[in-house]
């Protein structure tokens, strides 16, 4: 018996792996390469940044990310207003990667929480410009719906602040977002360990995006493997359909035919 899953479709892209990994903060490039490989991801995020001028160019990030293996998802990390994020998205597209963008418009450097109004404004602009917008957002169900209304391809609520490793802090909000969403929901940010990934999938998330949880683990490659296993476990558990929680016990063994007691 084979237990198949549907691929996750985002715009013109189709992914068998539902895990999305970042490419930042790994101790070495080799470690990043191995971690991505082991995780089974097919889509990785990248940042758009100024080149350091006057520094001879060695290997670039793209040399480590074979295009036949990974779809690149440029982000707008570090942008604190809509205009800045839109310009960064356009530069990402100009780099020749395609129309995918992970839109982030952040409120401030300390919380890195999404700035809701700027996010909505930038999403609207980028959708009109033909981008496939995967939109980082807070776990606010109302904003998630508004983003969907302007045409984003996926809403990506934060489980917890970026890099905080706290796991999903408000599962009820994520559940409401999932229940109402008509686009795929990818939980993005806050993943600290494998159970956070499993939990996101058990709630019904279509995907999980993480970076620090793997890159900053003591053994990133091993954690990448754990994340892959957790994604499979959580997704399967969701598809299988969990039993309802009950207050009292319910015997698993037959209640009749028990041998005589005292």
């Amino acid at each position: 018996m084979t237990l198949l899953d549907q691929p996750l479709v985002l715009g013109s892209h189709s992914f068998d792996s539902r895990l999305f990994l970042g490419t930042g903060k790994y101790p070495t490039m080799q470690c990043m390469v191995e971690s991505l490989e082991v995780s089974g991801t097919q889509c990785v995020t990248v940042a758009v940044r100024r080149l350091q001028l006057g520094v001879p160019e060695g290997k670039t990030l793209l040399d480590y990310l074979p295009r036949d293996k990974y779809v690149l998802l440029p982000n707008t990390a570090g942008c604190f207003d809509a205009d800045h994020a839109v310009r960064t998205a356009r530069l990402g597209r100009e780099l020749g990667i395609g129309d995918l963008v992970k839109l982030e418009v952040l409120a401030d450097p300390k919380t890195l929480l999404p700035e809701p109004l700027g996010t909505l404004e930038a999403a609207n602009t980028l959708v009109k410009e033909g981008f496939t917008v995967l939109c980082y957002t807070s776990d606010d169900p109302v904003l998630a719906k508004r983003l969907e209304d302007v045409g984003v391809t996926s809403v990506m609520p934060a489980g917890a602040p970026i890099g905080s490793g706290q796991g999903i802090q408000n599962p009820n909000n994520i559940r409401i977002i999932l229940e109402r969403a008509e686009v795929p929901v990818i939980v993005d940010a806050g993943v600290g360990t494998a159970s956070d990934v499993a939990f996101a999938f058990e709630l019904g998330a279509e995907g999980v995006l993480l970076n620090s949880g793997v890159a900053l683990a003591k053994e990133p490659v091993r954690m990448a493997r754990a994340m892959k296993a957790a994604a499979t476990a959580g997704r399967d558990a969701f598809l299988a359909g969990r039993i309802p929680k009950r207050l009292y016990a319910s015997a698993s063994s037959p209640t009749s035919g028990v041998i005589a007691g005292e």
Binding site: T23, G24, V46, R50, T60, E94
Partner: protein, 70 residues
């Protein structure tokens, strides 16, 4: 007469000669055109237009590539 143009490239002042194109600048920076994206005064200069886009005094340029990120 070859006038000197003052530019800002990635936030730093830089001088080039009159008649310099975006393609010339990218080459002078030692970069491969297919690995960079260029924004001039907040507008993208598409790669096919690099060779035909002449820089002007006071232009502000951003020359970017992909780096690791989440």
């Amino acid at each position: 007469m070859n006038e000197i143009l003052q530019l800002i490239v990635n936030g730093e002042p830089r001088e080039v000669g009159e008649g310099t194109t975006v393609a010339d600048l990218v080459a002078a920076l030692g970069l491969k055109p297919q690995q960079v994206a260029v924004e001039r005064n907040k507008e993208i200069v598409r790669r096919p237009d690099h060779a035909g886009t002449f820089l002007e005094h006071g232009d502000e340029l951003e020359v970017v590539a992909f780096f690791g990120g989440g």
